[in-house]
Amino acid sequence: MAAQGPNASEYIVHHLTHLKSATQTALVDWSVFHLDTLFWSITLGLLAILILAKAAAKATSGVPGRFQAAVEILVEMVESQSKSIVHGDRSFIAPLALTVFVWIFFMNAMDLLPLDLVPNIWAAIFGAAGHDPHHAYMRVVPTADLNATLGMSLGVLILCLYYSVKIKGFGGWMHELFTAPFGSHPVLYPINFAMQLIEFVAKTVSHGMRLFGNMYAGELIFMLIALMGAAWAGTAGSGLLWIGGVLAGAIWAIFHILIITLQAFIFMMLTLVYIGQAHESH
């Protein structure tokens, strides 16, 4: 193992490298896609909405089955949250919040799969297709990719702008951009506008970064735990490391159940809060 296996740094770098459509050298390159992120997020998104659609298709007003009741609990939770936060027409916002919650929960839950399971399967397929399996990259947690989380928070920003214009009218929104938060005075216009811009940028970036940071860190800790367990080499001292790996992996995975749910919930709540703010005049 020690002979051909990767060392710790190589292992982590390999696990943190995306399956890309092209090699990216610059920090920002709009011509490159992360294929693994897209594949998993779309697959999990479809899975999420198909499960929900299945529940919706079979929904009856009679006595619900367990599956229907579970989906209904979720829907009622989202409905009550959106009702208390967004005042106005929620016919798109409440379903949006439901989608956000379920989809992000599913994407986060990929973290709970055994760390090397999917990458190894992919490496086998990649190798069987005649490529070098050492270059088979696969990251299975889409929310641990900043592109995915910022993409979603950017979607929320666009919806915020849309609802601002829709609720307040373009003129009203412009008025608000220049007069809030400090007041209506020509001297204050630029300051107000700058504050509003900062607010929008800060909201969007923190919204995406929060989810990304949590999932990225969680994934990294799984990798470190896996490395600890893999340090086992048959000696008494390393045997303890193996036991430590199992214990730490179990503890972190159990704790992670809370984190993935909590982060999905936080992302949903912030989505509602930001869109709710777009509904309210300052």
Binding site: K20, Q24, A26, L27, V28, D29, W30, S31, V32, F33, H34, T37, L38, S41, I42, G45, A48, I49, L52, A53, A55, A56, A57, A59, T60, S61, G62, P64, Q68, V71, E72, V75, E76, E79, S91, F92, A94, P95, L96, L98, T99, V100, W103, P142, D145, L146, N147, A148, L150, G151, M152, L154, G155, I158, Y216
Partner: protein, 156 residues
């Protein structure tokens, strides 16, 4: 951790998924939930109504029972009064019959004794005449002395 076009793809996917949920997932579930809520509300209202109806019926039954009891008691006391009256009447009738019988008997007895007295007077008068005849040894004309005899009779 590089930014690239994945971001926009994710954005589009995000909006499409949300649209799908709005179109096909949310409305049926909310409809089912609302329908169930109204069903439950209806059921509760029906249960309430049934409870009120039951209370009504119980009250009515109690009233009827009480009324029946009252009328039965009335009947009984009426019958008792009637019986007492009948007994009273019968008793009075009996007393009346007894009194009448006694009166008749008394009248009968009085007239019988009168008749016996009359007959006795007749016989005494005849005996007196016969005795006087014998004493006088002389025939007395009964007809000629009828007035005398009648006077004598009435003095007896």
């Amino acid at each position: 951790m590089n930014l690239n076009a994945t971001l926009f793809a994710q954005l589009v996917v995000f909006l499409i998924l949300a649209w799908f949920t709005m179109k096909f997932v949310w409305p049926p579930i909310m409809k089912a939930l609302d329908e169930r809520a109204s069903k439950i509300a209806d059921g509760l209202a029906a249960a309430d109504k049934a409870k009120t109806d039951l209370a009504h019926a119980e009250k009515k039954a109690g009233d009827e029972l009480r009324k029946a009891r009252e009328s039965a008691a009335e009947f009984r006391s009426g019958a008792e009064r009637q019986v007492a009256q009948l007994i009273e009447e019968a008793r009075a009738e009996g007393a009346r019959i007894v009194a009448a019988a006694r009166e008749a008997a008394e009248t009968e007895a009085a007239s019988a004794s009168q008749r016996a007295k009359e007959a006795l007077r007749e016989q005494v008068a005849t005996l007196a005449v016969a005795g006087a005849e014998r004493i006088l040894r002389k025939e007395i004309n009964a007809q000629a002395h009828a007035e005398l005899l009648t006077q004598l009779k009435s003095e007896l």
